[in-house]
Amino acid sequence: MKLLEENGRMYGYEITQKVKEITKGELHITEGALYPALHKLEAENLLDVEVEKVDNRLRKYYKLTEKGTKETVNRLSELEEFIKNMQTIVNPKLSY
């Protein structure tokens, strides 16, 4: 969702490549994980889709809806909170 917020609309393969690029190959999202997640977000009306003919085939682009944009902010702050809590558990001395 963060990637879509920053890049506007993206298609599935583009998302996998962007994640690989940003994490320098450390994180690899498989198709089996990515597409079910995208379809679930689409079903929840957090993502909208556009279909275009590109390079002799149809391509499905995903983009955030208004609801999706708000939800991205919520989920990012939840993730930040989670990371802070994990850091507190792993390095309790640093939390003082």
């Binding site: 298609y11 198709e31 390079d55 002799n56 149809l58």
Partner: protein
């Protein structure tokens, strides 16, 4: 390096050979695989046939038939879609069994308490026929659109349940059959309407018809 229409058709044929013909999965996977092949051709200097073999070797596991017995008795579906179909199948059949059990429970416990149960069962039969005609209309629309998605497949797979109870209702004038048909209808019709709705939304988004 962009693939030609013929090369894209080859990818499509390979997916169909693996029984991946539902458009809601095929179109997206076809694009993903095509992008994969294009990347191999430009970065590793492979020709199309080599890149095609390497890519589909990577996809071999995901395209392997899986859990197909529960979804179809005459067709294998690849792993990448069979899990989702199986989940839908499981949810639907659980709901159907619970609904039929509720119907039987109601029949066994209230038949002596209702004096005009013939009128009630006639009303139930009428509602059943209205919903059957509605479901049949949706089936006709699906066939007319001539587009196959996982949604239309699930609709067509579960429609025969309604057909069976329609024949039973028609040939047997029995209160229990009427009541069971009604509870089967309560389970089946929302599922059919949801499948039909998703199928039509997909066709509209992809501007297929």
């Amino acid at each position: 390096m962009k693939l030609s229409s013929e090369q894209i058709n080859e990818i499509e044929k390979k997916l169909e050979d693996n029984n991946l013909f539902f458009l809601d999965y095929k179109i997206e996977l076809q694009d993903h695989i095509a992008c994969n092949i294009e990347e191999l051709m430009s970065k590793k200097q492979l020709d199309f046939n080599q890149a095609f073999k390497v890519t589909f070797k990577k996809w071999e596991y995901k395209l392997k038939p899986h859990l197909t017995f529960f979804i179809s008795n005459n067709r294998d579906f690849p792993k990448i879609i069979s899990k989702k179909l199986f989940t839908k199948f499981l949810i639907f059949n659980t709901f159907l069994i619970v609904s039929v059990c509720v119907g039987l429970f109601i029949f066994m416990n209230i038949q002596d308490k209702i004096s005009n149960y013939n009128n009630i069962f006639n009303l139930i039969k009428f509602v059943y026929w209205v919903l059957f005609v509605l479901s049949l209309s949706l089936l006709v629309i699906i066939f007319k659109k001539n587009v196959i998605t996982s949604y239309s497949y699930m609709f067509i797979k579960h429609f025969p349940i309604l057909l069976i109870f329609t024949f039973l209702n028609f040939f047997l004038n029995s209160p229990i059959i009427s009541l069971l048909s009604f509870f089967v209808m309560i389970a089946v019709v929302p599922f059919l309407i949801s499948s039909f709705y998703n199928h039509i939304i997909f066709i509209k988004k992809y501007k297929l018809v």
